[in-house]
């Protein structure tokens, strides 16, 4: 068995032999190559292969316009060490997460100058974010011996330094600042006694990392936990003194592919590319053996034997993910009754039927079933992760549905949890109470769908849901969820404009901007915050900058309710008309006719966007069956 080694990104499938030829083909093609680039980025690429892919991407960008398939991100890179050697790998790794990345490098070794000089490339650039890649060699740590071993292990000098950098690089909150935690150096001066020395490098770095962890989210900072990553690799491998001496490389060139994957998944999370649903195979994935052949007594699951323990661990991992808010589904080639038997009768099953939002056990091919699961949950295929022990099934799904993430699995199920959790599929930059409930909400949705089929018509159905909603302007309590919705919602989103937390705070305090958040409950539970609207006042017209809605409340006339509320507020503010625009993205066809359906008048079309207007005076409330609380 091949050793499980994080350095080789074992959750990614092996690179095909003709990888370089495939890159060449992409370079020479004239059509839209975004999906080819995305597909090529999914392999466990070496630094040199990432380099080839980055060159291919650069050529493609020269020849054709960037596809809507990839989300652009412009990242400033600031470091006290040499970063140029991992820039191509970073660009190629970003493709893996659907990001078209541009990198602006700060001048070498000029961290503070970049921050303070208004003409520096980082300050000048039109950046979405800045990666602050500091390491211990570039930080003003106190000398371990000169400090008299004072009890405070983190100097205010370091805190001021970090805060100043964040403040300057965030550009008044317009940019995300990604701050790295600091890996420990390999060796200490005293040995084990370093732990007791308040001013030892080890203690200072620990204190700094704790300080970084507590940075307020409102400051627009996002943490990249490089300290943890380096410790997983092993500090002796992470730090290469030869490479440091020759080229001031902040970490061994060997870990570049891994490091870049970790940066890229965070960029993906910032751009709302994180996945939402884990789809599980059953036989030899959730238990050992084949339920249809081995029967309830024959499958391996439970304590007392090593294989049974491994499968318990996988189930525990899946349940933990569900408790975190990841939706679970089952996709198995089985008879439905057989497949459900362990869930119902096996005493050691951790997962129960009630944890599974969609349960598909049949003999159809898995790709079709995965499509049905995505449809059933009303999420994109790119929100799915598919866990299956069978290499042939994995290959079929990767081939048919490249948008679905399919982690490569080692032979031994003992490593399944590690592989799944190391892949970064469910990376997040915030965690709200709504996230925690999400899995249940999706499940309640399935129940609602069942109710729908038993109701005579849609109005009866909506009445029977007993929906009630609360509407207010943005506030601190709702803010992280608001920011998350703005950055994650793809389908019911008229403009797909993305804003950082700091920008949202600024809007909240801007008198010329009217904001609105909507929460909703029904008889099946709390849907949490489901809609966000932002209007910018121009004279007596409100320009609808953002109108988005969570797809879990689709087709429930919520948008009519929101418009009723919006018009009421507009009247209070002396507004005479609402103006809206639909800006097409690759994902928001759903709301193409949104304004037409709400009786807005078509004004004009510009490139592909359509503009609409609604006069407040003639407005007749739509009064959907939703009670305002």
């Amino acid at each position: 068995m091949k050793e499980w080694n994080i350095e080789s990104c074992p959750w990614l499938p092996a690179t095909p032999d003709d990888f370089r030829n495939q890159c060449q083909k992409v370079r020479q093609s004239n059509g839209d190559s975004a999906s080819d680039l995305y597909r090529l980025a999914q392999f466990a690429l070496t630094n040199n292969q990432l380099n080839s892919l980055a060159y291919a991407f650069a050529d493609v960008q020269k020849n054709s316009q960037t596809s809507q398939f990839l989300k652009p991100f412009c990242l400033g890179l600031v470091s006290s060490a040499t970063t140029s050697l991992f820039v191509p790998a970073l660009i190629a790794s970003a493709l893996r997460f659907g990001i078209s990345l541009t990198v602006v490098e700060a001048n070498y070794g000029q961290v503070m100058q970049e921050a303070l000089d208004p003409d520096s490339p980082i300050k000048q650039g039109d950046l979405d974010g800045v990666l602050l890649a500091l390491d211990y060699k570039g930080l003003p740590f106190a000398d371990v011996l000169s400090n008299n071993n004072k009890p405070t292990s983190l100097s205010s000098e370091i805190k001021d330094y970090i805060n100043l950098l964040i403040d300057k690089f965030s550009d008044g909150g317009r940019r995300v600042v990604i701050v790295q935690t600091i890996p420990q150096p390999t060796e200490g001066l005293f040995g084990s006694y370093d732990v007791r020395m308040a001013a030892s490098m080890q203690r200072q770095i620990e204190a700094l990392n704790s300080y970084l962890a507590e940075l307020p989210q409102e400051s627009g900072t996002v943490i990249l936990d490089v300290a943890k990553l380096a410790s997983r690799v092993g500090l002796d491998r992470w730090h290469d003194p030869i490479q440091w001496n020759f080229a001031k490389l902040p970490f061994s060139q060997r870990v570049v592919p891994l490091y870049c994957d970790f940066v890229a998944r965070l960029l993906g999370a910032i751009r709302g590319k994180s996945r939402k649903c884990l789809v599980l195979d059953l036989d030899n994935t959730l238990w050992g053996g084949v339920i249809g052949d081995d029967g309830l007594e024959g499958i391996k699951l439970g304590q007392g034997n090593a294989q049974g323990e491994a499968f318990l661990d996988i189930q525990r991992t899946a349940l933990n993910l569900r408790n975190r808010g990841v939706v679970l589904a089952v996709c198995s080639k089985n008879d439905d009754n057989n497949a459900r038997l362990p869930f119902r009768k096996h005493p050691d099953m951790i997962l129960k039927e009630e944890h599974i939002a969609v349960f598909l056990a049949n003999w159809n091919d898995k790709a079709s079933n995965l499509e049905e699961i995505a449809r059933g949950l009303n999420i994109g295929l790119d929100a799915l992760v598919f866990l299956d022990d069978n290499p042939a099934e994995r290959a079929q799904v990767r081939e048919a549905l490249p948008q679905v993430a399919v982690p490569e699995l080692p032979d031994d199920p003992a490593f399944y949890p590690r592989t799944l959790l190391s892949g970064g599929y469910f990376e997040t930059i915030a965690y709200t109470p709504d996230d925690r409930q999400r899995a249940e909400q999706y499940q309640a949705n399935t129940q609602r769908t069942n109710l729908q089929s038993s109701s005579r018509n849609i109005d009866d159905f909506l009445q029977s849901l007993a929906m009630k909603a609360q509407v207010s302007q943005f506030d601190q309590l709702g803010r992280s969820r608001i920011v998350q919705l703005i950055n994650k919602t793809n389908q019911f989103n008229l403009t797909t404009r993305r804003y950082t937390e700091a920008e949202v705070i600024a809007m909240q305090n801007d008198a010329s901007i009217y904001t609105m958040q909507v929460r909703m409950q029904d008889r099946f539970g709390d849907n949490g915050m489901i809609s966000v609207v932002i209007c910018r006042a121009h004279g007596t017209v409100w320009d609808i900058d953002i109108w988005l809605m969570s797809c879990r409340v689709l087709k429930r006339r919520v948008e009519e309710f929101v418009l009723d509320q919006l018009v009421t507020a507009a009247k209070k503010h002396g507004i005479t008309a609402l103006q809206g625009v639909w800006i097409p993205s690759s994902r928001n066809d759903l709301v193409k006719d949104h304004y037409a359906n709400l009786n807005f008048k078509f004004i004009r079309q510009e490139s592909c966007s359509t503009y609409w207007q609604l006069a407040i005076d003639d407005y007749k409330p739509l009064n959907p069956p939703i009670i305002l609380e």
Binding site: R20, Q24, T46, N47, N48, Q49, N51, S52, Y55, T82, S84, L85, I242, Q243, N245, F246, A247, L249, S252, Q253, R254
Partner: protein, 81 residues
Amino acid sequence: MNQEEILTKITEIMRETFNSPTLELTPEMTAKDIKGWDSMKNIWLIVAIEEAFEIKLSTSDVISIECVADYIKLISEKSAL
């Protein structure tokens, strides 16, 4: 692995490293003969070679490298160990 085989493998690595798919290497070639082979890219190249041949080069090894033949010599010495 004989010198010929080592040269073929280095050629493949250098083609990727310097983004030059048609690059043909001869043992006499130095950094001056290959576009993009600067001191920074040299570190990149060294690591790629270390990984491909499963060897580790020391500081003095790296300093001693002047031409492709030096690489071939080091690789055949180290992988013989």
